[in-house]
Amino acid sequence: MTHSDGSQSALRRRLAELRGGPDVPPRPLDARALAALAANPGCRRRALLDGAGVDKAALAEALGAPAPFGQSQFAFARGNSFEAKVKADGGAELIRLLCASTGETPPEPGEVALPDLSADGPSGRTARTRLALAPSRAGDEAAAGTAEGGTAAEGGWALLFHPMLALDVAGSTAYLEPDAIAVHPDGSWTVAEIKSFPVLDGSADAAKVGAAARQAAVYALALEESGVTGEVREQALLVCPKDFSNLPTAHGIDIRKQRAATRRQLARLTRLEEIAAALPRETVFDPARPAPELISAVESVPAAYAPECLSTCELAFHCRDRARAAGAVESLGRSVRGELGGFTTIDAVLSAAGAPHTGGGDAAGAESGQDAGAGGNAGAGPGADTGHAGAGSGDPAAVALRRAARLRAEALGAGRTDSRVTPCR
């Protein structure tokens, strides 16, 4: 993933243009966004907008389809107070939890270095972090950056709270801020994630643990590519409140799989240069622009909508509207799409099934091209597919659909007229 300086800065300039000019600051990509990006690597729209640092929430608002996200201040307060508790006493509790999980001997209080990582701007903070990651090797420099006299002794413990890591994503740099990284005496690192969902009787919500593991994996990747020689431990430390209390408990979670998957998927992301090159020169995603202009800008980048987007992407309501207007089967769920082989639109499926069209629904309206203003690929796709499906009436998928429709109609007829003569008794 190396670039010549020329193409790098050209890309950076191009992305700034897309964002609305050099005055619009890029929105930093966080690990949550990256993990979500890796979960839907097929979506170029998201890759480009995230890569260019467009504020997607503001964009969604400007498009008239605001994001469903928002954080309750209660959750926020709870998260902060828990994190503060875990980090209290110079990280003594965190180190104790870590050692309990790895079997290492905890250091005496005060023997854990807490390097100061503050600096101006993300690249400064990244540089500071890099130094702190190798305290023994960086020698004097690291010591100079160490706060409160807690000089990292050769082979000592160090805790990096809110360090900053840089990761190259599809040709642009993402800055990431893990909750904490521990440097072990042997020089290896553990990524620590502090979450405020509880571990109840030793088990926690699997979906949330999974999300935390994917985030930790993103940090681990960024550590590997930080340019500092060192080894990231295979287990990340997940710190959560225990049962119904505010007391922390910690579990090592193996992130090897997530790391491999994320690496693979990030590599699969289409390079931003390519996506950007396919756009009209004047495309801009500045939320300050008028809505119609923004809509056509957004629609000029192909998307890959699925209902899962609703919980991971700020643009979901917009993309969902488009997918529904186009009658795309994906809007009904990925599994639905999987069951249907080659069909991509609801209309195509229903006409192949020979099902009676029950009335002028949304899909029918979209097919007649009423949303010409949208332009874009979402509109072009279905037309072509409908043609294909119509030609292939002998195709096994169409035959199966007709059977399904016939069986369904038969059963509904039986069920509706007189349940006593149902054929299946």
Binding site: P66, P68, Q73, S245, L310, G361, L412
Partner: protein, 553 residues
């Protein structure tokens, strides 16, 4: 096929049926429970609406969710509302016979045991609501009241630990497929209707109802969108989420300032919080009752009663355990109980799938589509007998079907006869029309290009059971030419399961390996215990959760 139903719904702008009968029991008087939690607080309750009367829900509110005393007051009042309902069916019983092994003689003998005639029902709005019931149960059942433990800090109000045990039972039982003790409305509705949106979006009760029963002048899709994202001029959702989580905009703009005013002891602040919480609960409360109305329009499936009997067994066993002074359910199942529960769920899943298909032609249609069942008209019956000492009737029945079952040598098929009887048969061969000796390897000549109605197949089966014990089949047990039959490739009753629950047979305290033999001489309360329960000394009660000044819940 359910994908097809979703597409029909999307095109029609209205939900389409996925069932023609109701596959779950709806009690005459269910208790509807709509809980709300505080965001990020590990399930600290913020309030709830509960009750059996649609017009007069009981509103319970915790004006400051971080205050332990207020939380306990909430739980105490919740116990006041919910416990009487859950305990209401304990005393009306009938007698059932079952086989039990006498612990002394080791002989099997028939004993009379009590079975509660009814088991009260709880209905929550959605899946997370059911999870919250489980969480509440967990948080309460290890509490100690002042009476149980006069020394302990922060004693729980009376009734709270007991409610915790009941809610744990209901929460656990909800994981058993086909159970109707604790139901979530979104699951109920999406079992019976297919909407024009994804399963993920169906978890929003307001949107789901909008598809099934849209208001005048709106299509299902439009109404669902309004339910999901519509906001008033103050930025509040028109249709607040059905809990347990609240909308962040509500928390930040309305609730947090009101709670601050309550903390500052401003007059009227408590009422203000109550009203705010009620404003979020009431729409979900009404939505659940609307859902109940919609479900009542479907007639109950025939085999629902049989499944409900299992719920009654479970309810009765729990009652007995509480009465005999057993400790609350453990924090974690031991390996044996966990394995038993898993096996039970798998078995009940198979039973549920079979029974739903038998009760409902639309569900059967899905199985037929999948090649797991087939229907057709009898074209020929040929009497035949088994060889051997005692010749038994083994008639050959040929039927013509448009379905494409996955039949092959030796495959067994089943059909339901009147009054719960069953008949089995085995696949013999496919016939080609006009060729009596058709061979089993050539099912059909069609290449799948037919229109789906003209390519009937002739299937010959040999009936193997369900004809009585005589040398000649009992009257009416052998189908006649022209009769329409439906055969399934799956069994109607999953194998290995007696007609009674088993997990409940193992008291919680007995799940582990039998390391400590039960001390002899402790009489078991015969006739009222869960069947199979051997006498034991009451084990050490589990320790309560450690309490700290910062606990939630």
């Amino acid at each position: 096929m359910s994908a097809l139903a979703r597409m029909e719904a999307a095109a029609a702008g209205l939900a389409q049926p996925r069932a023609t009968v109701r596959h779950r029991r709806l009690a005459e008087r269910p208790l509807v429970f709509v809980p709300l939690t505080t965001a990020g607080e590990a399930g600290a309750p913020l309030g709830a609406m509960a009750g059996t009367e649609r017009e007069s829900p009981v509103l319970l509110v915790v004006p400051q969710p971080r205050d332990r005393d207020l939380r306990f007051a909430f739980l105490a009042r919740l116990a006041g509302v919910v416990l009487p309902h859950l305990e209401s069916a304990q005393d009306e019983i009938e007698w059932e016979e079952r086989k039990e092994t006498d612990p002394e003689t080791g002989k099997k003998e028939t004993v009379q045991v009590e079975l509660c005639v009814d088991a009260p029902q709880l209905i929550v709005p959605n899946g997370p609501g059911a999870d919250f019931v489980r969480l509440l149960g967990r948080s309460m059942r290890f509490r100690r009241t002042a009476e149980e433990d006069p020394e302990g800090p922060y004693p729980a109000p009376p009734g709270v630990p007991l409610l915790g045990r009941w809610l744990t039972l209901y929460g656990e039982r909800a994981r058993v497929p086909g159970s109707s003790l604790l139901l979530s409305m979104t699951e109920l509705l999406s079992r019976h209707w297919a909407t024009g949106q994804s399963a993920l979006e169906d978890q929003h009760l307001g949107a789901l109802l909008a598809w099934i029963d849209p208001p005048e002048g709106l299509s299902g899709g439009e109404a669902a969108l309004r339910a999901e994202v519509g906001r008033d001029s103050a930025g509040q959702l028109l249709c607040p989420p059905a809990g347990p989580a609240t909308d962040p905009a509500f928390d930040n703009r309305l609730l947090a300032p009101a709670i601050d005013r309550f903390d500052a002891r401003l007059p009227g602040a408590e009422d203000e919080v109550r009203e705010l919480v009620a404003s979020q609960l009431r729409p979900a409360w009404d939505a659940v009752w609307r859902g109940i109305d919609l479900l009542r329009t479907l007639p109950e499936g025939e085999r629902v009663t049989e499944r409900f009997k299992r719920d009654r067994w479970s309810y009765t066993a729990h009652r007995d355990r509480v009465r005999s002074g057993e400790p609350p359910q453990p924090r974690r199942d031991d390996a044996v109980t966990a394995a038993a529960k898993l096996a039970q769920r798998e078995r009940e899943q198979a039973r549920l799938e079979a029974q739903e298909a038998l009760d409902d032609p639309l569900v059967m249609a899905e199985r037929r589509f999948a090649g797991e069942a087939f229907a057709g008209e009898v074209t020929a019956v040929e009497m035949a007998y088994s060889e051997g000492k005692r010749a038994m009737p083994r008639p050959l029945v040929t039927l013509s079907t448009d379905d494409r079952p996955h039949l092959g040598g030796g495959v067994k098929v089943h059909r339901a006869l009147v009054e719960g009887a069953r008949q089995s048969a085995e696949f013999v061969r496919y016939e080609t029309e006009g060729d009596g000796d058709g061979d089993a390897d050539a099912p059909r000549a069609g290449d799948g290009t037919g229109t789906g109605t003209g390519d009937a197949t002739l299937v010959t089966l040999r009936l193997t059971s369900g004809m009585g014990r005589g040398k000649e089949p009992a009257p009416g047990t052998v189908p006649e030419k022209g009769e329409r039959l439906c055969w399934t490739l799956f069994e109607h009753t999953p194998r290995g399961g007696p007609e009674l629950p088993e997990v409940e047979d193992t008291p919680w305290t007995h799940g582990g390996p039998p390391a400590e033999p039960a001390p002899a001489g402790v009489p078991a309360p015969r006739g009222t215990t869960a069947p199979g329960a051997a006498p034991t000394a009451p084990p050490q009660p589990p320790l309560p959760d450690p309490v700290t000044s910062e606990d939630l819940l």
